[in-house]
């Protein structure tokens, strides 16, 4: 009974607790006060129903839109308006009314919870104004800087465009020059080629004659060797002593086989031997020379090697791919160098028979060659210059094609890098290029993402940069970084974090995102509510 009594008292207290000075129902913003007229039936703001006025703020939810309980927590979807004189007005979900937590700085949300709230609006307002002032100053200065940046970017853009145009003009000339030199080269190469061919042909004929001589000598020598009884004939039996001539590889040269080699004859004289010689010369072993070494077989290693290679192919590992990633650009450079400077020193063709070396060119041929070489060099030099020019043009065009913001205000970040050192790492942001992380005390660099795109909200995509496809994480995604841009006088990386494994967040201040201060006049807003 005591309890019931107490309850009733408390309920009373609630209804008396409404401060008198507030006009209209609790929690209603000024703009909506007109809908809440004392002692007149209240129509839910969504028009769904009409209720007696004493049901407004009676701690029971009657309207689906929560509009009958702007000052109590009865409706799940209601909202409460705090005036917060001296600070900014605010709507809070009605579930925060009388929950014991001070949400409104004017304490109006906690009128029956026992929470001891202090009115902090003035203090908050002051602080906010200070912050705002600071921000405004920063914005102001930042915006000025931004104008410079825009101008510089414009200038730079124009310059670059002019440069590109100039270069394209130069390129045309270079193109022509290359063509002329190509013709000169080709013209010089024709006689060179012919002279060289002549020289080569002469030499080859000479070589053939020598070879023929040698063969004949060999044949004569063989004949003498075979003719064991020196009767001036080589007989079947004499031939049979050379088992290496065995055709069916059974180890013996039978009489029939020998006869076959001799073209059916029993014996041949020196001149007839000329027709036998081609049949046996490939296999024939001179008796005076040591046996030829067995033909060297293809070394088995050669077959094995690729197998070994494949076996040892490493599992894809982070570290490795990391380094590869990092080296990418450098490698590109090397490749370019390779292209430009192909290996020119060619080792002269070596043969076992050094004595058979080609004789030097005669003076006329050499002169032709020298002339052609010069033409080639000239041509290649010009072509290289053209390629370089192309690269330069392409680079500038690439730069010009970047989205550097609506006024190109981000241009100045291009090809720059900014670092931030934390406890463990040095973070490096190279805008429009890549983000990386390097341990402070040694260790390799990790790619945290390469330039992807602007990815801010629709109304201003230039507030966030996304860097993607960095080094992969174990069992995870590739590293990526979001760079959040805020207005500042200086261009600095202010913080980095890894909110989620391998997803980095970098905060970056730059004047380039400073907006024009909306109002140079600094005044605390919501004066109206005062």
């Amino acid at each position: 009974m005591t309890c019931v009594h107490l309850l009733l008292t408390l309920v009373f207290a609630v209804s008396l607790g409404t401060p008198v000075e507030i006009q209209g129902p609790r929690g209603v913003p000024l703009t909506k006060k007109q809908f809440y007229v004392e002692n007149k039936p209240f129509t839910c703001l969504d028009g769904s129903r009409t209720i007696p006025f004493d049901r407004v703020n009676d701690d029971y939810c009657d309207c689906k839109d929560g509009s009958d309980e702007p000052g109590t927590a009865a409706c799940p979807n209601g909202s409460f308006h705090c005036t917060n004189a001296g600070y900014r007005t605010m709507f809070i979900p009605s579930s925060r009314i009388n929950d014991g937590i001070c949400d409104c700085c004017d304490t109006t949300d906690e009128y029956n919870s026992g929470a001891k709230c202090e009115n902090t609006c003035k203090e908050l307002g002051r602080k906010e104004r200070e912050v705002l002032q600071k921000m405004t100053e920063i914005t102001k200065e930042g915006f000025l800087l931004k104008q410079h940046l825009i101008e510089e970017a414009k200038k730079g853009h124009q310059e670059k465009q002019i440069k590109v145009t100039d270069m394209q003009e130069n390129k045309k000339q270079l193109d022509e020059k290359v063509e002329v030199l190509r013709t000169v080269k080709e013209t010089a190469e024709q006689p060179e080629k012919e002279a060289k061919e002549r020289h080569l042909k002469a030499w080859e004929e000479q070589k053939a004659a020598i070879r023929l001589e040698k063969d004949k000598a060999k044949m004569a020598e063989a004949f003498l060797e075979l003719d064991d009884n020196a009767d001036g004939f080589v007989s079947v039996s004499e031939l049979q002593s050379h088992a290496e001539l065995d055709a069916d590889a059974d180890g013996t040269l039978t009489e029939t086989e020998a006869q076959g080699l001799m073209g059916g004859a029993e014996q041949v004289d020196m001149s007839t031997f000329e027709s036998v010689w081609p049949n046996i010369k490939d296999k024939y072993h001179s008796e005076s020379q040591p046996e030829e070494p067995a033909p060297v077989e293809t070394p088995p290693d050669e077959v094995k090697e690729p197998v070994v290679d494949n076996d040892s192919e490493p599992y894809p590992e982070d570290d490795i791919s990391e380094e590869e990633d990092e080296d990418d650009e450098d490698e590109d450079d090397y490749h370019e160098d390779d292209d430009k400077a192909p290996p020119t020193i060619k080792t002269p063709e070596k043969s076992h028979e050094d004595e058979d070396a080609m004789p030097p060119y005669d003076a006329d041929t050499q002169a032709l060659i020298d002339a052609a070489q010069k033409a080639r060099d000239d041509f290649e030099e010009a072509e290289k210059a053209l390629r370089e020019m192309d690269d330069q043009i392409r680079n500038i065009e690439k730069e010009l094609s970047f989205d550097f913001g609506p006024d190109a205000e981000f241009t100045y970040l291009y090809s720059q890098c900014y670092e931030l050192t934390t406890g463990e790492y040095i973070y490096r942001l190279c805008p429009f290029n890549r983000v990386s992380q390097k341990p402070k005390y040694g260790g390799s660099e990790t790619n945290l993402g390469t330039w992807g795109s602007w990815s801010g909200p629709e109304n201003n995509k230039y507030l966030l940069m996304k860097y993607e496809h960095g080094t992969g994480c174990w069992q995870g995604p590739n590293r990526s970084t979001t760079v959040k841009l805020t207005c500042g006088k200086e261009t600095v990386v202010t913080s980095t974090s890894e909110p989620s494994r391998c997803e980095y967040l970098m905060e970056f201040t730059t004047p380039a995102v400073c907006q024009e201060p909306a109002n140079t006049d600094l005044s605390p807003h919501d004066h109206v509510e005062l």
């Binding site: 009974m1 005591t2 309890c3 019931v4 309850l7 014991g100 069992q475 494994r501």
Partner: protein
């Protein structure tokens, strides 16, 4: 070559997402299990020596002899209060004492007198008190049968599988069988100074086809037969990326099995903390429903029977047979032995936001703000191992968490709380206070050579405090005092992980069995280690408030009795649909054996969930007792607002549903605490005669009155829920649509659907004003949801206390009302004595109540609220004819008062 390397990569890949089975033993690789399992059913070598029978008032003792080796055993039989029988078997004269598990029973179970009904050469018949219930001891071979009338309820050693490896001297063994005195698994050798010590006993359950329990396994609710496979294993292990639907051991062990049929529910509690394997076989396995029907029609059916066999590595046989007969009887029987679920602080029933890890104070702050920005309630934010300074628990990383009190105060200002992890492995580091004190007090577990046992865990080289020592636990508890645990405050709570214990470089990722806890081997106590860790931690939390505040401690490892110390979660699951599904049977199984405060990591711990899976998991987790989202370090962020506004709204909605139902959850936890009734239950618990419910584990009851069928299929367009209860009705809680019981109901679903039904005949209290945290809702009014039965009847309860202290117990400061709707009147009455009420009334008198009623009759008269004084007050109401919902507007009664609402 290319193909080969692809195969290699894919092998590597798949192995990272599934358990490495090779790390864990099969029965064949566990020498005692292999040995015991090699024994086949047959004539038992054991014989009861009836001449040794001694009967005192409360106990019967009798010697058994093994005719093969002449070793004598001592059998002790107790008839326990509450329809239970305890059977203990130990060696009559062991070489040295065998381990008996302490600290699990809340007290020596009170006994009732046993009386001998008859006795002859063949055996003894004892009366078990309950009508017609007898215990028959047969002498040769030895067996026990418990009978009711002509019916055998349960038999022990009926298959002759009682096997007791007696302690012996090493030279005693004539043949050196492998694994008797030493056993090697992978690179680890278990020296077994005591030799073979295992025990085994079989139980036959005639008439039983359904057995449940023996968690923890990632398997169906209804236990499967184990013929041809491994037995269910109970051995607390840290299993990396566990697989589903198999009998492998997991983080916790509760050696309790329930047997159920339409007539009776019984339980077997095998009190042994050593590695244990449970074999289940059944004579109806493989028979189709049709086959069984045919048997029935032809009368040829042999009585269905389930046979169970328990095998443990050491200790004694100490079995409690809980004879029911109702499911609720078994729960209260088991509760009377090992205690009930701790009554948690109300806030811990709210939503928990966890991640490995919230990186620093700034991160914690921004996540906290995120909840406010998106208007999603939560009560606890959690810090995993990275919060501590070099994994030194009880400390804070000085860079990431330099001002823990500031952080905790920030949370407290919003009436929110935090949990920080404290694991039982202690970094071996002479600069670490905790390590130094444990060393100087000589509290570490010892290795077989008597030196401090060391193993690898998160901090690197670690020691493991010997939690089996009461002095150690008292000291550990003292470390939670505010002046010891620097940076802690009253809103900081604790999470005990890795307490199996996990030892990265130990055999099966746990402690060596020959490590020493005083005179006992780790082998003897393994499964109870985790319980002790949570026990000491909960004790510490209670003590830091001078015994006033209730603790909240989450544990991963557990044993019988763990329910007394806090909450349990299902460990490191994965973001996969099957893992969402398995969370239901895993928590149901735990609930059946006392652990009601159970949950699974919402979203899945390993891997990244799809948005759909995440939303479905929230919708499921919100209707499970312990509701915590958690994620692995390597996963992407998944706070509820990171998946677009639509999904944020879906998650917000379901978390709000959870908060609205907190009064009901709290009341159910109170009931669990008082009676042992599980909070989250299989349907058969409340519909024990309905065989259709016996294998259902894709839906469940919360208490008796809410039925939940979570959507756990990807891309689901509908689910079929079984609504039990012939002649009953169920109301869709979202639409008030009424459905008849005893039917399979197809429910079309969208991503926003969570099929939940309220039982007709029930009254559920809710707080429909959902706020930032449960503590913010403390003084909010209740809404009673009255769902009428076809007979226009409903009943329910309302339990209220301060939500966080022990005053409900020490000062009886609580309100516990019975609510009844009958004869067109809704009445609130005390469930407990009025003396308590008036004390309470002073505290709680600020509570007002809205009354909402859902009913099925047309309304055409006045509605009156009548207080106890007889004063009548008219009440406004609204009536929605489409679903026949009557809403009483603001009746405003005191929740603690007597009143009647009369519909005239």
């Amino acid at each position: 070559m290319g193909l080969l390397s692809v195969v290699c990569v894919s092998l590597f890949f798949s192995s990272t997402f599934a358990v490495d089975r090779g790390n864990f033993k099969t029965c064949d690789q566990s020498a005692f299990c292999k040995r015991q399992r090699a024994l086949k059913p047959g004539q038992s070598p054991y014989r009861a020596l009836l001449e040794t029978l001694e009967l005192s008032d409360s106990r019967l003792t009798l010697q058994l002899i093994n005719d093969n080796n002449k070793v004598h055993l001592l059998l002790e039989l107790y008839r326990l209060q509450g329809n239970m029988t305890r059977v203990k078997i130990n060696e009559l004269k062991p070489l040295k004492p065998r381990f008996e598990v302490p600290d699990v029973l809340i007290a020596e179970p009170p006994t009732e007198p046993l009386s001998v009904l008859s006795k002859d050469d063949n055996g003894v018949v004892l009366s078990l008190g309950v009508k017609n219930q007898r215990l028959i001891v047969s002498a040769r071979p030895f067996r026990l049968d418990i009978m009711q009338g002509p019916e055998v309820l349960l038999s022990l050693n009926s298959r002759g599988l009682l096997a007791f490896e007696h302690l012996r001297l090493h030279k005693d063994t004539d043949k050196e069988e492998v694994g008797l005195w030493e056993e090697t698994f992978k690179s680890h050798t278990d020296t077994k100074p005591n030799g073979p010590t295992s025990i085994s006993l079989d139980f036959s359950l005639p008439g039983v086809e359904h057995v449940y329990g023996i968690p923890e396994h990632a398997d169906d609710l209804k236990l499967k037969t184990t013929d041809g496979g491994d037995p269910y294993r109970l051995y607390n292990l840290d299993v990396f990326q566990y697989e589903l639907y198999n009998p492998m051991a997991l983080y916790g062990s509760i050696p309790v099995m329930l047997a159920h049929n339409t007539q009776r529910t019984m339980g077997i509690f095998w009190l042994n903390a050593a590695e244990t394997w449970v074999d289940i076989s059944s004579n109806t396995t493989g028979k189709t429903v049709f086959g069984k029907m045919l048997d029935f029609v032809q009368g040829s059916s042999e009585n269905p029977q389930t046979d169970v066999r328990w095998i443990s590595e050491s200790g004694i046989i100490d079995v409690f047979i809980m004879l029911g007969p109702k499911p609720s009887d078994v729960f209260s029987q088991y509760a009377s032995l090992t205690g009930t679920q701790s009554f948690p602080p109300l806030a811990s029933l709210g939503y928990h936001q966890c991640r490995w890890n919230y990186n620093d104070q700034e991160d914690v702050k921004s996540v906290d703000q995120g909840f406010d920005q998106h208007d999603i309630p939560y009560d606890f934010i959690w810090l995993d191992i990275e919060h501590a300074d070099g994994k030194r628990y009880f400390t804070w990383d000085p860079h990431k968490f330099p001002q823990p009190k500031e952080m905790l105060q920030g949370l407290m200002d919003k009436k929110r709380k935090m949990v920080a992890i404290v694991d039982p492995h202690i970094r071996v580091d002479s600069g670490y206070k905790i390590h130094n004190e444990i060393t100087s007090k000589d509290f570490y577990v010892k290795n077989k050579d008597g030196r401090n046992y060391e193993g690898w865990c998160w901090p690197g080289n670690s020691g493991y405090p010997d939690f089996t020592k009461p002095e150690m636990r008292a000291w550990w508890a003292s470390m939670f005092a505010y002046d010891q645990y620097e940076g802690s405050m009253e809103n900081l709570f604790t999470w005990n992980d890795m307490n199996e214990p996990s030892v990265f470089n130990g055999p099966e990722v746990t402690m060596h069995k020959d490590a020493l806890h005083g005179k006992w081997e780790h082998r003897d106590i393994h499964n109870i280690y985790g319980l002790y860790v949570q026990m000491a931690t909960a004790e510490g939390q209670t003590r830091r408030s001078g015994g006033v505040e209730r603790p909240f401690v989450l544990t991963r490892a557990f044993f019988a009795g763990s329910q007394r110390y806090g909450a349990v979660w299902t460990g490191d699951n994965a973001a996969e649909w099957d893992h969402l599904k398995i969370s239901i049977p895993m928590c149901l199984s735990l609930g059946l054996v006392g652990v009601s405060f159970c949950g699974a990591d919402v979203g899945g711990f390993f891997k990244n969930p799809s948005t759909e899976l995440l939303v479905r998991w929230y919708q499921t987790g919100a209707y499970q007792p312990f509701f915590r989202a958690h994620a692995h370090l390597d996963t992407t962020r998944r706070e509820p607002w990171l998946f677009g506004p639509e999904n944020t709204a879906l998650i917000r909605e379901v978390i709000r549903q959870r908060y609205a139902l907190l009064p009901y959850w709290y009341q159910l936890l109170y009931q669990a605490h008082k009676t042992g009734m599980p909070v989250m239950r299989p349907l058969w618990v409340d519909y024990p005669k309905d065989t259709a419910t016996f294998t259902i584990d894709d839906e469940f009851l919360i208490g008796r009155d809410l039925l939940v069928h979570p959507v756990t299929e990807e891309g689901s367009r509908g689910v079929t829920a079984y609504l039990p209860g012939a002649g009953e009705v169920w109301y869709d809680v979202h639409t008030f649509q009424k459905h008849n019981g005893a039917q399979n109901l197809y429910i079309p679903v969208t991503l926003s659907s969570i099929p939940v039904f309220q039982r007709g005949g029930s009254i559920i209290p809710r707080k429909d004003r959902v706020r930032r945290s449960s503590t913010c809702m403390e003084n909010d009014p209740y809404t009673l949801y009255v769902a009428l039965s076809p007979k226009k009847f409903a009943e329910g309860e309302l339990y209220i206390d301060d939500g966080h202290s022990f005053n409900y117990d020490t000062k009886k400061e609580f309100i516990h009302r019975s609510l009844t709707f009958a004869n067109n009147a809704l009445t609130s009455k005390y469930l407990f004595s009025p003396v308590e009420y008036c004390n309470i009334g002073k505290i709680m008198s600020c509570i007002t109540a809205e009354m909402t009623s859902m009913s099925r009759f047309v309304w055409h008269a006045n509605l009156l609220m009548i207080s106890r004084t007889g004063k009548e007050t008219p009440v406004d109401f609204e009536f929605d004819t489409s679903m026949s919902v009557l809403t009483l507007r603001k009746p405003g009664m005191n929740a603690g008062a007597d009143w009647t609402l009369l519909l005239q």
